[in-house]
Symmetry: C2
Subunit: 209 residues, 2 copies
Amino acid sequence: MTAQNAQTEIAAASPSKQELIVSAACKLFLTASYDVISMDAIAAEAGVSKATVYSHFQNKEALFAGVMHKMCEESSGPQVSDDLAGPPEAVLRTIGLAITHKLMEPEIISLFRTVIAGVTQFPELGRTYWQEGPGRARELLATYLTDLAQQEELAMPDPHLAAMQFIGLISGPFLLPLLLGVRDAPTQSEVDRAVDSAVAIFLANLRLK
Amino acid sequence: MTAQNAQTEIAAASPSKQELIVSAACKLFLTASYDVISMDAIAAEAGVSKATVYSHFQNKEALFAGVMHKMCEESSGPQVSDDLAGPPEAVLRTIGLAITHKLMEPEIISLFRTVIAGVTQFPELGRTYWQEGPGRARELLATYLTDLAQQEELAMPDPHLAAMQFIGLISGPFLLPLLLGVRDAPTQSEVDRAVDSAVAIFLANLRLK
DNA sequence: GTCTATAAATGGATAGAC
DNA sequence: GTCTATCCATTTATAGAC
């Protein structure tokens, strides 16, 4: 066992300074955008001195990049990659609920705001988030829809377009109002109703053609 | 003619300092978020001194509020309130194209980013933008859909939900990627195809029930 | 690695002359 | 109203002791 492995194993029980810093930065960057959060505030939240922060990260931008990478990993898209068998209604409903529930989490809305706020300053941030989040959902859906179309002999000229339409259809009622802060998180029954409706609309059209 | 009217008429030809300041602030706040833009930068862009800026606006927040109010007015939703007659396909296509074209404008995407970035610090900003933009589109659509359902004797249990689903369906393929900066503005044919597809999906479902 | 103290720069906001 | 010059708080980042 190398020294590095030993350090990694200990980490879970007693978090290293580096982990304390990243956790504190995560928390703060979710409450406000890049420029609002100072290195002083991060150091204070982590319970370390500012010099310690700079000993682990070259500068603020490097810390921000590390934090964003970690948050994208943790919130990596809907976890439905396994369970794609069964009647299409059920599968789309499962995928739709997974996506909707992801979007409902306050942390995800906050992350979304932070990413969008930072994308002008840090263009790579947008690409990273897309690949880890919505882009992954799109690929998953497009693959499933392609298979579905083949099985049921449906027309599916552009699976990527269809996937984004489905995502828009289920997220439309909630995403914008939540991002703008003009409504609270929806109730379970509200989510169920919206997803059921969206699945019905989507499938009805597919089978009509 | 009052003195104020005279000033207003002159304004178009030779803009007042106040208008110079607001224009400069508009331009800058569209390129980056609230905290990134300094009063020094705004004064420099307007070609006036910083003290002059403060003689017209009490502080930075007041200037930001004024700028956002002006931008919301200028970009006030899709201008389709008159032309709601004709076959549903055509009407929905017109509305869909109007909404999509609005969203494609780089200024609107930038405004969107700025609003979302600022909504944590200034909650009223989100409400204002919603009312001037997406909220207005939702009301317009919901009203039209209610009428349509009545005329064609279709089921329309929740016009607001349906309106947001339609907006999500047409904006889904573009809005997220544009906000995240992972794609360029779509071509005209791409927009046409997406809107036609969305209208077909939406209407097919309505008439199926 | 970690701390205290501080440097160097920039931010919002104001005083005072004109 | 408008400008120049300045105040004061805060920010990023570093130096030097331990």
